[in-house]
Every structure is written in C-alpha cells, then in structure tokens.
Amino acid sequence: MSILMDLATPIVMGILLGGLYSLIALGLSLIFGVVKEINIAHGDLVILGSYFGFVGLTFAGIDPMLSLICGLPVFFGIGYGIQRYLLNRAFRISMDATLIIAFGISIILQNTYQLIWTPLSRGLTTSYSVESFSAGPIYVPLVYLLDLIVAIVVMIFLREFLKRTYMGVAIRAAAQDWKAAQLMGIDTNRIYAYTFGIATAIAAIAGVFLGLTFPFTPLSGMSFLIIALGVVILGGMGSIAGTLVAGIAFGLAQTIGGYFFGVSAQMLVAYTMVLVVLAIIPRGIFGR
C-alpha cells in the first residue's frame, strides 16, 4: 500500500509531463505525417519559442502565454518560409537533402541562440511558476497541469481544423497520396508550406510551456528532439491521438523509471520502453 502511495506522485507527474512531451512532438509528427520529412530542427524551433517567451517576459514583462498571441503568426511565418524557400527546393533533389538542410538549420539556430542569449541556462519565471496544489499525498506544480491541458486543447483544435476546413482535408489528402492530391487541384508545395507553418506555430506553444516547466539553454533543442522522436515513433507517425498516448507513456516511463532506478536512469527506462513496444507493434500504437 505504501508503495502505491509513493508511486502516486510519479504517476500523476508522468501523465502531466507527457502532455508537454506530446505537445513538443505534435509538430514533428504533423510534418512527418504530411510532408514525410524528419525535421531535425524541430527541437530548436521549440526552444526558439522558449526564447520568444523569455524576451517578452524580460524586456516587456509580458506573460509568456500572452506573448503567443503575437508569437503564433510569427512562428507560422517562419515555418512557412523554411518549407517554401528551402525544403520544397531540396525535395527535387531527394529526401536526404531535406534532412541535411534541416540539420543545417538546427546548427544555425543553436549558434544564433548562443550568440544572442549566451549559453546560460534560462527559464520563464512568472508569478504562477511556483504555484502548486496537492490532493492527498500527491503534490503537483501548476505548470505541469497547464502542460497537459494545453496539449489536449491544441490537439482538439488541430483535429477539428484537419476535419472541418478545406485546407485541413487537403492536408490529409496530400498526406495520403500527393500525386492524386495534385490531380484534385491541390498545390502540394503550398500545402506543405502551410503544414510546416502550423507545426512551427505549435512548436512555439510547446516552447513557451517548456520554458515554464524546465530551464533551457541554446542546446536544449537536441535533447527534446530526441524525446519527441521517441514519442512520434512510439505513437505511430502522423497520428494525433497516438502522439498524446505515446507522450504520456513516455512521461510515465520516465517518472516511474526515475522512482525505481534513480534520476540518471529516467531516459534509459523510457527508451527501453520504446524499443520493447516497437518490437511488439512495429507501426507504433496508433500506426496505420
């Protein structure tokens, strides 16, 4: 009984943390599902979202969540531009070329962050970042709860957008058969650019909540990319529900693993779980 009581906090924390992981992975999954690119720079774009919140907070005292109002269109534009002017051109050479360009973008971003914001660790400290609540033996920081709620809200919005709008249905059509999509009058290059823009806007949201939850440095993007890749593979590439479930599974494996084997084994446990699941269901939990 006491072990269950002790486990209650890691379980709740794991689920909530999973919300953040799935939010970070969502954009990566969307790009992979539609454009079939592995966006190596996704983690760095997430961190750009964290710095965006940081700048607004430090220089203008704007709440990081509020700064997203102006951040979302800016990040959409950045993502749109990356796909339209860089990756759509690389497509014509090969898919490997898109991977290398994304890798290049990743390195450029990391170094730019170091230049502007120095390698120091930063965080988004607000009036509510120390708030927490407890229910019985469980103690939970407020921002962790926000992570999960925001992840679910973003996923519902994305799902409804993909279901109800012409653009959304066109994005799904292009993901399933790009050639047939072109024959339907869909400019697939434009659709890819829009998809990348939407994914980058989601990265900005993820970045702000990452910054509220954890400290970050110019190089943090890479470690979160690795987590996001694990989540995307585990969830079945391109599936929204799969991303949420896998994010939570990943968060749980990490916190419960940490409870039993210590902090240093957190990632080891999480990735062992990814390997075991893939050995049993190679297409991921919700894979097609």
């Binding site: 012409y166 249905v169 066109a170 799904r172 059509a173 399933q176 058969d177 050639k179 047939a180 999509a181 072109q182 024959l183 339907m184 009058g185 869909i186 400019d187 097609r288």
Partner: protein, 239 residues
C-alpha cells in the same frame, strides 16, 4: 456535338528520365465527344494522360486546351482550366470518408462555389455514394471505389474528363454501370477522353479513337472506320 476542337496535342515527346515514353504524339479531341485511346500495357497511354494533366511535361511539342498552350502548367493550374484526370486505379484517398473525397474533388475555388449542386448531381448518378457518404473510402468495394473516383472527378466541374482505365479489374456488370454513367456525363456536355485496353468496348462507346503502340500513335479515326480497318481486325480481333 458541335465539333470544335477542345484539346489539341501537337507532336509531343515525353521522357521518364532517359527513357523516351512518347514519340511525336499528336491528337485532337472534339468538344462534346467521347474519344478513346487504345493500346496494350506499356504503350504510353498513361504517360499521355499524365502529360495532359501536367504531372509530366513534354520535352518537345505543345498541348493546347481551348486554344491556350498548357504544356508548361502545373496540375492544379490545368485542373483550374477545366481538365480533370481520373488516374489509373482511381487513387481515392483511403483514409478520408466518401464525402471528404468528394469534397476534396471540389477544392479549386471555381468548383467550390458549385459544391452543393455538383454533389447532388454525383449522388443522382451514383446513389450508393450518398448512402455510404460517412464511410471511410478504403472500406468500399472495388466498383464503389471507382464510382467514387469518377464522382470525385466530376466534383471539379470539368469541361474535359480524362479517364485512365476506369474499368480495369472490375466485373463486367460493374463496367456496364460505369459506361452507362459515362454516357450520362457526356449528355451533360462534358467532353471525355478515355484510355482502354478493351478494344471492342472502346470502339462501341467512343466516337473516335487513337491506337497506340510503344509510345507512338499508329492509327486513328472515327470508330466506324476503325472497325473496318484491316490492321485493327488483325491485331485486336484475330480475324
């Protein structure tokens, strides 16, 4: 049938990489008529269809639609002008619902404004699609999938429909249904250019036909004349 030329292909060469798939191909399609392209596997029929719809581009020659050169345009621009292609195998979107497939058929802005009217017409033509509108397209039978592909093509409000082997692999009774639908589509004033392997069927359904062999057009004319042509008799009917 007013006999105006709506589509004119002038001496095009098309390559797949270094392999030349079409050699000096020319044809013309009259407005309001059904034109057939007949040939065996690998004779370049699908390549010709994909070139007209802009998926491939000719390295020589031109394609004119309603007097405008379209040979350098992208597929979505060509669809905008009023040419739709039903590709080989139908290629419906398996994980979209039947209704979503039809909706995406009317993606271009001109067709979008006539979505409701076109949807009613498609449902009239294929009532089964209305019944199954909420189902995922991948759950349909082979014949229903092809009806969906045809309906989806119609949703773009085309002036000219290109149909690549729409009856391939279907039971004869379903093929009859599809050709019946085709005649109704034609009665609405839509011009049709279709590709077939079945020579007898083509020569019955079409007004005129082109016969292709290894990337070249070897014979063309009105179907009545082609039926009498000794070469056709020998090559395709074995008499």
């Amino acid at each position: 049938m007013n006999g105006n030329t709506i589509l004119k292909v002038n001496h095009i060469d098309v390559f797949h990489g270094s392999f030349q798939a079409l050699w000096d191909v020319s044809l013309s399609v009259n407005e309001g008529e059904i034109t057939a392209i007949i040939g065996a596997n690998g004779s370049g029929k699908s390549t010709l269809m994909e070139t007209i719809s802009g998926l491939l581009h000719p390295s020589a020659g031109t394609i004119e639609f309603e007097g405008k050169d379209i040979s350098g345009l992208q597929p979505f621009e060509i669809l905008d002008l009023g040419i739709s292609l039903l590709p080989e195998g139908g290629r419906i979107f398996p994980d979209l619902s039947v209704l979503e497939n039809l909706k995406i058929g009317s993606y271009n802005p001109k067709a979008r404004s006539e979505y409701t009217r076109n949807l009613q017409r498609v449902y009239q033509l294929f009532p089964v699609l209305e019944v199954m509108r909420a189902r995922l397209a991948k759950s349909l039978s082979g014949g229903e999938k092809q009806m969906l592909a045809l309906g989806r093509s119609l949703m773009s409000n085309p002036k000219l429909m290109l149909l690549d082997e729409m009856s391939l692999g279907l039971a004869p009774i379903l093929v009859n249904d599809l050709y019946k639908a085709l005649r109704e589509i034609r009665a609405r004033g839509i011009t049709i250019l279709f590709v077939e392997q079945n020579v007898r069927r083509s020569l019955v359904e079409a007004d005129s036909a082109y016969i292709m062999e290894t990337g070249r057009i070897v014979l063309s004319g009105h179907v009545d004349d082609l039926r009498e042509e000794a070469k056709v008799q020998k090559a395709y009917f074995g008499t």
